[in-house]
Amino acid sequence: MKKFTKLTSAVVPLNIENIDTDQIIPARFLKATTREGFGENLFRDWRYNSDNTPKPEFVMNNPTYSGQILVAGKNFGCGSSREHAAWAIQDAGFDVVISSFFADIFKGNALNNGLLPIQVSEDFLKQIFTAVENNPEITLTVDLENQTVAIEGKVLPSGEDLGGAENFEINAYKKSCLINGYDDIDFILAQKDLIEEFEKG
C-alpha cells in the first residue's frame, strides 16, 4: 500500500454536501477488472457533458485550482460500497480528502488504499472553503504523524491571515499502516493460527 506521512499542497474545493459514490464514479464505469484508470472518469457527469466536452464551470476543469487535496462538503462518499471511488480519486492525483463527515465504507476503502480521509470540524471546513475562495493559491499542510492540518499563507490581498490549523482523529492502527505502507491482510495473515483455533471452537 502507498505510504503517507506529510503533504503540503494547493487544494481543489468542492463545496457540495452528500457527494455519493455514484457521482464520484458512475456505475457504467465499473466494468473494468483492474484498479487502474478510473481517474479519467472521476466526477464524470459533473465534469463532462454527454458529448464528452468539459463543463467549464466544474472545479476540476478550472485551471485556477489544482493540487493533491480534495476538500468537499459533509457526508462525503455516501452510497455504494464501490472501492472504485477511492481508486478514482487517487488515480486523478489526490492523496488526501478533507470533509466534515465521511460515510463509513468510503472512509475504510480510502484508508485501505493509502488515500487519507481527514474529518475536520464544520467551522474549519468553512474556513478552508473561505480561504480558497479568497486565494486559490493557498496551501494546506497535512501532517499525519502529528495529526494536524493547517492552512498556510496569506489569504487576503489586504494581508489579513485567515490561516488556522486543526487536529484530526485517526485510528492508531490505521495511522501506522499508512506511515509504514502495510495493509490489513499482512496484519491478519500474521495471526492465521488464531483463526484456525477459532474455527475449531
Partner: protein
Amino acid sequence: MQSPPLLGGLGGAKMSKTLVEKIWDAHVVKSEEGFPDILYIDTHLIHEVTSPQAFDGLRKRGLPVFRPQQTVATADHNVPTLNQLLPIKEELSRYQVDMLTKNCAEFGIELYGLGHPFQGIVHVIGPELGITLPGKTMVCGDSHTSTHGAFGAIAFGIGTSQVEQVFATQCLLQSKPKTMKIEVNGELGKGVCAKDIILYIIAQISAAGGTGYFIEYAGSAIESLSMEARMTICNMSIEMGARGGLIAPDQITFDYIKGRKFAPAGQDWDKALVYWKTLYSDADAKFDSVLTFDAADIAPMITYGTNPGMGMGIQENIPATTAQPEKEQLSYQKALDYMGFDDDASLIGKPVDYVFIGSCTNSRIEDLREVADFVKDKRKADNVTVWIVPGSKQVEQQAKNEGLDKIFEAAGFQLREPGCSACLGMNEDKIPAGKYCVSTSNRNFEGRQGQNARTLLASPLTAAAAAVTGVITDVRELLEKVEG
C-alpha cells in the same frame, strides 16, 4: 461452517448485551486494545463487479481463497434482463461476467451464474436459499448487504480490499460499531408498506443520520412484518449511513427459513433453533441511541430530491429551500434543479415516464404479488413504460407458477429476467435523460438510473399506482375506490 458459539461469559455474571453485541462477541477471533477486532466471517457473498481486483490481489500474493466453501457467487449487477441465455452483447460486461466464472473455477467457489436456476440478485438469493441465517456474520462487496440483517445476522457491505481480506483469511479487521435502536410501534395505515416505513425513517434522520451505527429495528409494527418486508427495511439501513441493520429473529423468521435448500435440517435444525432463540437484545441492554416512531404517522412516501433522505408523505409539498439550514441550501437547491422541481410544489398529478419495480429492495415474490394484486384488471397508462425485474430465477419462476406473468402482461407491464437492472443502470436498462422514473429501488442519486435520469423512490404499491394512472398518485385513493 461454524457451529453456533456459546454465549455468555465464562464463570462471571452475564452482562446485558444488545443483539449486535451478542453476535459480534461470538465472532471475535482477537480483540486487542488500540486495534480493530479480528472478526470471523461466516459467509462471504460475491458478484462480478467488486471481486475481480480482489482475486487479482490473491494471485499477486500467491494465496488461495482460505474458505471457499463459505463463499457463494452470483452474477447480478451487470447482466441483461432480456434474453439472458444469449451471450452478453456489451463487451465489457461480458468480459466481467466471464471473469467471475473463470475466477470461481480457479479458486473453487460455487457460482450461481447466468442460466443457473439459483441465479439472482445476491441479496435475494442468500435468504431464499437458506444461506442467510440468524446469528451469522455475512459480508459482500455491496452496500445493501444490510438486507440479510432481517434474519438477525450481522451483515454489511465492504470494499474490494476487504473482499480480498475475507478471501485470504475469512476475517475482517473491524471496529465494533455503535448501536442504535429504532422502534416503530402501532399499526400501519392502508396502502402503507415496509418501504414507506424505511423512507419515512430516513427522511426523519437524514441520509447521514445512522453513520457509525448498526441499527436494530424493533417495535410492534416491525414484529408484525413478513420476512420480505423486513428485508426491505434492513436493506435501506445504508441509505442513512448505517452499515448494518437487523431485526431479532422470531417465529416468522424460523418459519421462513425452515425447509430452504441450505437451511439446517433434522438435528441440526433443532440445535440451531436453540441458539437462534437466544438472539435478542437483553431487556436492560444499552444502546448508544434510541429513536421511536409511531406507525400511524407514516403515509405512502415519495422522494423529491437526489438523496434518499429527501423524502416526504405523498400528500405533502416539497419543503422550501429557505427552510433548510443555511449551509445546506446550495446543495438542496442543486438537487431540486436536477429534479426539475420547485419549492413548495406538490408532486400529486405529476406525469411520470417510467416505473421500475425491482432491485434488492423490492423484487421478492411478495412485492410482485402485491403489485399483481393491485393491477389485476387494470392497464398501465399510455405514457408510462413499466419494467418488472424479479430478484431471482426462483422469484421469476414462482411468479409464473402463480400466473402473475399473465396479470402483468395484460396490464402492459414488462416482466423481465433477474438482475440489478435499472437500480443502477450498469446494463442496458437505463432511464433516458430528463425522464421521471418512479422506482422501488434504493437510491435517487443524480444519474443513478442513467445519465440525467430523475428517480422518485417509492413502494411497489405507489409505483404500481403511478403506472396505472401515468401520474404520481396517492395509492390510498385507488384502494378506497375499489372498496367503495
